[in-house]
């Protein structure tokens, strides 16, 4: 069926004339409030995520921090291993 067929077809026109309904008013308000609350929460986490995914933090500070902690951990593992074998 083409768009023109759809527009002219009597069965389709009957369907197009069907009324829209509304959800229960209280439920609709509750959905709105819940979405607002979720948007508020996502705004907060989004801001934090944005902070850490920024050009300086995301590309420079974070890898440097991870590398530093890993280096300290590795040095400690080596030190303990040497102590264990009496060096």
């Amino acid at each position: 069926m083409t768009t023109e067929d759809i527009r002219k077809d009597p069965v389709m026109r009957m369907l197009a004339a069907l009324p829209a309904g509304e959800p229960d008013r209280r439920r609709a308000d509750r959905i709105r409030a819940r979405c607002h609350a979720a948007m508020g929460r996502l705004g907060w986490t989004g801001t934090l995520a944005g902070l850490f995914s920024g050009s300086f933090c995301g590309r420079t500070l974070e890898p440097a921090l991870v590398a530093g902690v890993s280096a300290v951990y590795l040095a400690e593992v080596v030190r303990r291993a040497l102590l264990l074998y009496g060096f």
Binding site: M1, T2, T3, I6, D9, V11, M12, M14, L15, A16, A17, L18, P19, A20, G21, E22, P23, D24, R27, A28, I31, R32, R34, C35, H36, A38, M39, G40, L42, G43, G46
Partner: protein, 195 residues
Amino acid sequence: MDRESELALVQRLRGGDTGAFDAVYDTYRARLYSFLVRLSRRRDVAEDLLEETWMRLVANARRLRPDTRLAPWLFTVARNVYWSYCRSRLLEEAHATDLIGLWPVADPQPSPLELAVAGELEIRVERALAALPAESREVLLFVAVEGLRPSDAAIVCGTTPEALRQRLSRARAMLARQLETPERCVAPVLRKVTT
């Protein structure tokens, strides 16, 4: 809603603007709800699915593409939410026909007065529509009731425009047959009221 306003709303939604959410919610709430009621044939289920649809919009608002078209996006989510529900609950078509309620009255079992007031033709169309398989119902709802272009409806249904046109023609023929034989699609509730 013109395209320019829609793009502006999408931009504001991406920024977490609750005012933009309200504007989208007020524009599409009734349409989505009507679609979900007619697809699921249950008001309580439709309200749950409606809530899930809006929550998904909120969860994905920041990831919306700047050129997102809201109607196809929302109807795609609503449709996916419905089919996920069917899979999770193993909703059976045969049992669901017992749960059909008259549209759009609030009481799932319409009173004789409501039946008299509601348009006879409208009731017949709703009943005939409800008697179709969900795959046929959804394509009629998208194109004829919600006014999506067949190409958009094809995207929403995850099919090609040509396949959608064929589905639409078949669904339309099934609906026409149902309308010619209304007694086949009358739910037990209605029979009880009228006899």
